[in-house]
């Protein structure tokens, strides 16, 4: 009985930590340059997946899409790739090698969310993702 109580208590504590950890996961916002016309850039979650898999290379008006990633070690990158691409960066090696063979590079990566914002504001057709709390007047989120 004593050991059963310990097991239940341990599981409860683990569940609580898990719930707290889950709550603390940041909300990710997919962002573009604040000067972009959003009506031109409407797309679904599935299209976002195609953009980050580099299967869709152009916006509807013919501009080249330039997706930007955070580095593989960044926690927001793991959260984003799990949610959008369905796997962690380490599991995508074969896929990116295959695309390299066809001359297509994976999205460029940068170290910080500030670098993502700067890349987006300085690059025509760029799209990226950051913690929603860090959105400022230089970028705007896509619905």
């Amino acid at each position: 009985m004593h050991s059963l109580t310990i097991i239940i208590l341990t599981l409860s504590i683990m569940a609580s930590f898990s719930a707290i950890a889950h709550e603390r996961q940041p909300i990710i916002a997919v962002v573009v340059d604040a000067k972009e016309n959003l009506t031109e850039l409407k797309f679904t979650n599935n299209e976002l997946r195609l953009i980050y898999w580099r299967k869709q290379l152009y916006w509807p008006m013919g501009r080249r899409i330039k997706p930007i990633n955070l580095t593989a070690e960044h926690p927001l990158r793991s959260q984003f790739t799990q949610a959008v691409l369905g796997s962690l960066p380490k599991m995508q090696i074969d896929y990116w090698n295959g695309l390299y063979f066809d001359g297509i590079s994976p999205p460029h990566s940068v170290n910080s969310e500030e670098a993502v914002i700067r890349f987006i504001t300085q690059t025509d057709g760029a799209i990226g993702y950051i913690n929603a709390c860090k959105i400022d007047n230089r970028v705007k989120p896509l619905a």
């Binding site: 997946r49 195609l50 869709q56 090698n97 390299y100 063979f101 066809d102 001359g103 297509i104």
Partner: protein, 334 residues
């Protein structure tokens, strides 16, 4: 060689015709839009029936060009067997030859439709589309993926990707416009190639291809071919399979082939980044009989872009393209 010249001249003409003129201040950007990469592999083969041989199998250069326009360019130039060691027991460069594997322009019509013109890998087999040594687990290629259909096509293609539920539906429709006039000694000759490939990318990849073509030679004729391919991961184990069935339009024997392959990670037994490879193959061509192959091997992923492969191949019947014995090779992207 003539066909290569046609493409090179065509490429230049297209570049000049479709791209805006390059002024002096734009020269730097023009150059910055080029990217050069490549891959190479080298290995030894100890055949069951012949003397051992070693070679640098290929050095391939991948050149891409893309700017902010709807046009992009890609080419793969391969130096085949630049250095080999064999019967004469000394190194030789006489087997070396230059081959233009791919050269095409892509033009984006809309976000889901792209137009390709040039020389491209015939999109009727998963292996054929990803045939670079650093991309495949084994040094040897399944016979079914090299001797049943044309491996490359000079012509036009419409291709794109469309979201479909939680996956991507990809299509490729293609047709040959020019015959490849540069044939190697034992290369099969195909013409009037046209077809389609449809694939679904999700947690598993599923592909279907439909192709029609004519084959020259004693076993020639008009053929239609159905190909199916599948790749999935089960508890970290990669399982892949492809099958092809050719139908002769004169109701004669068309030929067929298939393989199934597994790559089992050996991390759990202490060999990090090593994979145990098993493959079974069957292959049959008109008037050539049928062949079976089995393969057992181990592949070490030294880095994400480098593979060391060791394999034993056995089976029935002699096929120069799939010798039985031991093979070791190293492949890398650079």
């Amino acid at each position: 060689m003539r066909i290569s010249c046609v493409f090179i001249v065509g490429s230049l003409a297209l570049s000049i015709g479709l791209c805006k003129p390059v002024f002096s201040e734009e020269t730097a950007n023009w150059k910055e839009n080029f990217k050069l990469g490549g891959f190479s592999s080298a290995g030894i083969i100890i055949n069951r029936d012949e003397s051992p041989e070693a070679a640098i199998n290929e050095v391939s250069l991948l050149l891409t060009w893309a700017n902010d326009s709807r046009l992009s360019f890609f080419s793969e130039l391969e130096l085949e067997r630049p250095l080999s060691w064999g019967d004469e027991e000394k190194f030789s460069r006489k087997e070396g030859r230059l081959d233009l594997e791919r050269l095409y322009f892509d033009y984006n019509i809309s976000e889901k439709i792209n137009f390709r013109a040039g020389r491209f890998l015939t999109p009727n087999s998963r292996w054929n589309l990803l045939r670079a040594p650093p991309l495949v687990w084994t040094s040897s290629r399944p016979l079914a993926t090299s001797r049943l259909f044309p491996t490359r096509t000079d012509g036009l293609m419409l291709h794109g990707a469309i979201p479909f539920k939680n996956s991507a539906f990809e299509y490729k429709l293609f047709a040959e416009l020019l015959e490849d006039q540069e044939q190697e000694n034992n290369e099969l000759e195909f013409e009037h190639v046209r077809g389609a490939r449809f694939s679904l990318k999700n947690e598993s990849d599923l592909g279907m291809s439909l192709v029609s073509f004519e084959e020259s030679g004693v076993n020639g004729g008009s053929f239609r071919m159905l190909g199916l391919d599948y790749l999935t991961h089960i508890k970290g184990i990669e399982v892949s399979a492809e099958g092809f069935q050719r139908f002769n339009t004169d109701n004669k024997d068309g030929g067929s082939g298939a393989y199934v392959q597994t790559a089992v990670p050996l991390n759990s037994v202490g060999f990090h980044d090593w994979y145990w490879i098993t493959r079974l193959e069957t292959f049959q061509r008109p008037n050539e009989g049928s062949f079976e192959r089995w393969l057992l091997g181990a592949t070490w992923r030294i880095k994400p872009t480098q593979l060391l492969k060791l394999e034993f191949i056995g089976g029935s019947g002699d096929q120069p393209e799939s010798p039985r014995g031991f093979t070791a090779s190293f492949a890398l992207f650079f």
